[in-house]
Chain length 443, copies 2
């Protein structure tokens, strides 16, 4: 018995050679939380389907994967514009974050999840505080998430152990939709001893590590001054790379760093809107890929990137890479799709995601193809990278369950979420620079 | 008597010092094709209004201005991906354009206009072929346009004179919604004699000139080799700068060029998505602005930029400029808004556009503010540049007339347009490289 039949849609598939292509006019059958069949329209018996979803003129794609964000930072969206990265941290973000209380994070994360569902994102990797609240928001809303409780070195080992306890508590939670990581902030805010302690715990409990690294040339200089090695080398020395690592950014890595990351099967998340907005430079994405390092797409938090829009970040990755390399033939449409879908799955070590194929998890997004901006339909793949926008997302299914239909959210009460956040805004938006939770080191 | 009362919207205004700000909960009264009043909600008598438009929780902005495009190129959207600029011209665009027949341009332009209306664009400056068909599409759809019939030097003076005749025929057409320009292609495809002839005609008939210039460093080198001067200097020598000039791109200009452009009140249109996608480099927008040269936003054609989305181009302008300058504090939110709205009006020499103010033309766009991605509403200006997307456009008014309401197009039958284009696609998409309308010179 088919639980959900998605009828008469075009489907983004991947062929045996790894090339993406669109199969026109197919039916997708979902049983439980998995894809049971993808066949030419009409071959699946409607009578044998509990629920029928007419998807004519829709394009079905795998649920988008946001491999690096700080979801609840939507609470501060728009509060730190046109500033330097140092000021962004020290004068805005870290003072603002000192205002956060656990329940704020629940509502902030739900707002972020609502935005992500509206943008076709079904899985996100979060790196933030009060992670039990985040996990609860994920459980309540039906999305999939890889969660790490962010921790700074100065918070000490007892706090680190709390984040380990969180990871154990929620591993496999929400019916298997939650995976957990450890989330030390970065080599510039966690010293080698703290990172070593983190790595030991990650190894002991078989947990991966999600961490920021080498975001700017200045950070690399600081690491060389302090420790005599680059940030990736320091992570290696501390044992961090002995577990699965999801490394955010890696903009200012060296050739030697790339070799280290490759040797340890590290995956790298790219959030180009943040890099451009904060003028951080452009990561060597081609070199990562030539080395075989999985590259994936993240949105970062909404105070730097303003949106949690993976489609937008896919487009920006290609545009920024082409412009920086002065070469318009790189980061092709096929490569961007591979980064977004296959790269996302590889970054999260979740091979059941990022592809529409029988037996894989049923995370499916339907895009409306009726807008003037995606006509003529010569090349739906090019449209996916350069023309579709999040406003085209019509329907979102995660783990076999409908989360949005006809642009209506089915699992998040957005008006309630907005009301809860509105009642907290005055307290949350206070900015006392001295009352910050960390300080960005400037050498 | 008020013809249209837009009730209870937030309004993007500009204060006396030139700063953009949002006035909450206002009514906008439109009489004929002009704004008659903008007042706090409730002060305009609903009984005295012919039509009432409830705009609660909408943000009213001036109709967006697309100051450089080739609208009908949507006919080829997606056909030239991941190629070099030389190949883009010689192997794709100019062979494809050899397939065009006049009526194709009518339908292609209508598709582009549908996309622009759906994206909040009410005015566009077009630079394309068969401009009578373009003008007819503008007349039929209700938008505003500044039209120039694109011409290459090799087409000769007789063809140039046809484009002059078009400009005279349609100047002030469609009830004043059409303005016309002359549109020689570029200094690299129009020789000095041809440009001189163009300038003479423009002066004689008081018509402005819309032209491409200095798109890449290679074009500048070629100009120096051929003529001993840069492209802007060559335009100056040919007399082109003696009339109002809208110059597209200007990426590879020198300091001397900037002085020439400033001295002749030239305006510069920026289309950053094309520049990034074709890896053309980044224009000196800060230097233009420091010199007092009006900078505006264009989308270019959809074969390079894939969309005709001015909101997206505004965002990309800021992101590309910050990244290229390695300075996140430049091109602030206020500056981007000034470029988009005030710059758009100045580029088109149309001071009645780009601002919501009593007495100005009634081109108004309403954006939905209910999406999760524009909450909380701390800073609607930052949201406008970095978070709103074209999918948020709900209602579009041009010249006092509703062109879209509740996302439904009112003046373009999009299904009819698509059907007409579909019947032409096979012929239009043939690509015979030898049968091209021009050749991109490579020195």
């Amino acid at each position: 018995m088919v639980d959900l039949l998605i009828a008469r849609c075009d489907v983004l598939r991947r062929d045996k050679a790894g090339a993406y292509r669109v199969e026109r006019n197919c039916d997708i059958a979902i049983e439980g939380n998995r894809i049971a069949a993808i066949l030419p329209a009409g071959q699946i018996d409607v009578q044998q389907s509990r629920e029928l979803l007419n998807a004519s003129n829709m394009l079905a794609i795998p649920g988008l994967i946001n491999t690096h964000t700080h979801a609840a930072m939507v609470l501060f969206r728009g509060l730190a514009e046109d500033v330097s990265i140092e000021s962004w941290f020290n004068d805005y973000i870290w003072p603002l974050e000192s205002n956060e209380e656990p329940e704020d994070i629940y509502w902030g994360t739900l707002l972020a999840i609502a935005e992500m569902i509206q943008s076709g994102v079904t899985t996100f990797a979060d790196h933030y505080f009060f992670a039990d609240q985040i996990a609860q928001a994920v459980a309540d809303s039906g999305v999939r998430a890889h969660l790490g409780w962010a921790v700074f070195g100065h918070e000490g080992i007892a706090k680190l152990d709390e984040t380990v306890a969180f990871a154990q508590r929620w591993q496999g939670g929400a019916g298997g939709r939650i995976n957990t990581w450890l989330a030390p902030h970065s080599p510039y805010l966690c010293d080698p001893a703290f990172l070593k302690a983190t790595a030991q715990r990650a190894q002991a409990h078989s947990i991966g590590i999600h961490i920021h690294c080498s975001e700017t040339p200045e950070q690399v200089q600081l690491s060389l001054q302090r420790y005599g090695v680059t940030p990736p080398a320091m992570l290696h020395q501390a044992g961090v790379l002995s577990v699965p690592v999801l490394l955010a950014h890696g903009i200012a890595v060296t050739d030697d760093d790339i070799a280290i990351l490759k040797d340890h099967d590290v995956a790298v998340a790219q959030c180009p809107k943040t890099y451009m907005k904060l003028a951080m430079g452009t990561a060597p994405v081609r070199a990562f890929r030539e080395a075989g390092i999985p590259v994936s797409i993240g949105t970062d938090g909404a105070v730097s990137s303003n949106t949690l829009d993976v489609l937008e970040q896919m487009r920006l990755l290609a545009l920024d890479q082409k412009q920086a390399a002065k070469l318009s033939t790189i980061l092709t449409v096929q490569e961007v799709l591979e980064i977004a879908f296959d790269g996302g799955a590889r970054a999260l070590r979740a091979p059941e995601l990022g592809i529409l194929e029988v037996g894989k998890l049923a995370d499916v997004v339907l895009l409306r193809q009726d807008g003037a901006h995606v006509f003529p339909p010569y090349d739906s793949l090019a449209h996916l990278v350069y023309a579709f926008r999040s406003g085209d997302v019509d329907t979102v299914i995660c783990d076999g369950r409908l989360l949005m239909r006809n642009r209506c959210l089915l699992t998040v009460d957005l008006e309630r979420v907005k009301a809860e956040i509105t009642s907290r805004l005055q307290r949350l938006s206070q900015r006392v620079v001295e009352r910050r939770i960390a300080s960005y080191p400037t050498g």
